[in-house]
Symmetry: C2
Subunit: 203 residues, 2 copies
C-alpha cells in the first residue's frame, strides 16, 4: 500500500502540481480509501514529503564508486538527470510557483535536505578515511556546494543544465572541500545564528 | 527623468510585484507621461531590466580593495545585504511567484547576469595580474560560484542568509578559483551545448 500511495502522490504532483494536489485524488489514483492515507501520513504535506524523499533517494542514490571524485560526479549527473525528469520538473515548477516560500513548505524543504545530507555522510566519511578529503569536511556543506551551481542555473540565471553542468559542479565542490573550506566549524557558526534570521526570512 | 522613472519602477516593483507592475503606475509615480516611458524603454520588461541593472550596479558595486579575497568578501556581503533589502525581497518574491520561468523573463535574467559578469571582469583581471588567481579564470564562473550558495539557501534549502553565509560563499568561490577549476575552457564547452537544451528548459 505504501509504495502505491507514494507512486500515486508523485504522479499527481507531476500532473497537477503541488498547490492543486489533493489527498482525495491520490487515494483515487492509488485505489485506496483516503482515511488509509490520513491514518498513515496525517496530512497532505507529510505525504508529499515522504513521496519526494523516497523518490529522490531511489533516483539520486548516494554512490560508492571507490573515490570521492567518482562519487561526486555520479551524484551530480544523477541529480541533473532527475531534475530533467517529469518528477524533477514538477518539483522545479513547485519551487517557482509561489507556494514554495510558505513557512510550512520551508519546514518540509529543511526536512527533505536534512535527510539528503544524512544520506551523504557515509560517502564523506569514506573519503576522509581514504585520505581524499580533510578531516572535518562537513557532508551538508559539500553537498550544498555541489548542488548550488546546478540550482543557480535553473532558478536564477536561466541557463540550461546538462552533464557538463554536473561535472563542473562536482569538480568545484571537490576543489573547495580539498582546500579545507567546507569544514564543520564555519557551518556550526552559521547554524548558531539561524534562530535569529529564520523567522524574518520565512515569515 | 531617467533616474526618476527607474526609481519609480523599483518602488512599484517593491510595492505590487513584477506581475502587477504597469507602465501607467510607474508614470504616475514618476510624474511623467507614459509615452515618455515607452519612447525610451519600448516595453515594460526593458524598463524593469534597466531599473534592476542600474539599482544592483549601485547597491552591489564591484569592489576594488586591493586583494581578490577582500573584493569577494565585500561583494558577497553587499549581495546578502541587498537581498535582505526591500528591493531585493521584491526580486526574490518575483523569482518564486510563478512568472519567473516565462521565456521573456528568462531572456531578461540572462541579460541582467551578462551585465553583472561583465562588470566583474576588471576585478578578476586585476587578481590575475597580481598573481592571486590562475590565468584564464572565468569572471562569470567565479561570480556564479560565489552567488550560488547564497541563492541555494534562499530558494532551495530554506535557510537564512547572513554575513557568515556571505563569507563562506566568498571563501568557497576563491578556493575553487585558486584550484584552477573556474577556468574558461569548461565554461566554453558548456556554452556550446546551450542551444540544444535552452529551448526545452525555457519553453
Amino acid at each position: 500500500v505504501r509504495a502505491a500511495v507514494l507512486a500515486a502522490t508523485l504522479a499527481e504532483l507531476a500532473a497537477v502540481g503541488y498547490a492543486a494536489l489533493t489527498v482525495e485524488d491520490v487515494a483515487r489514483r492509488a485505489g485506496v480509501h483516503k482515511t488509509t492515507i490520513y491514518r498513515r501520513w496525517q496530512d497532505r504535506d507529510r505525504l508529499i514529503l515522504d513521496a519526494l524523499t523516497d523518490h529522490v533517494a531511489a533516483e539520486v542514490p548516494m554512490p560508492d564508486t571507490g573515490t570521492i571524485e567518482g562519487d561526486l560526479l555520479e551524484l551530480a549527473r544523477a541529480l541533473v538527470r532527475w531534475l530533467q525528469s517529469t518528477a524533477g520538473q514538477a518539483v522545479i515548477a513547485t519551487m517557482v510557483s509561489g507556494v514554495w516560500q510558505q513557512p510550512e513548505i520551508a519546514e518540509m524543504r529543511r526536512r527533505f535536505y536534512a535527510d539528503r545530507f544524512q544520506r551523504a555522510e557515509p560517502m564523506i566519511v569514506r573519503a576522509i578515511a581514504r585520505g581524499e578529503l580533510p578531516a572535518g569536511t562537513n557532508p551538508a556543506a559539500l553537498i550544498k556546494a555541489m548542488i548550488a551551481p546546478i540550482y543557480l542555473r535553473l532558478l536564477v540565471t536561466a541557463e540550461p543544465i546538462d552533464e557538463v553542468t554536473a561535472d563542473q559542479a562536482a569538480t568545484m565542490a571537490l576543489a573547495a572541500a580539498r582546500a579545507g573550506v567546507l569544514g564543520s566549524r564555519g557551518v556550526e557558526e552559521s547554524r548558531s545564528r539561524e534562530g535569529e534570521t529564520a523567522r524574518r526570512l520565512d515569515g
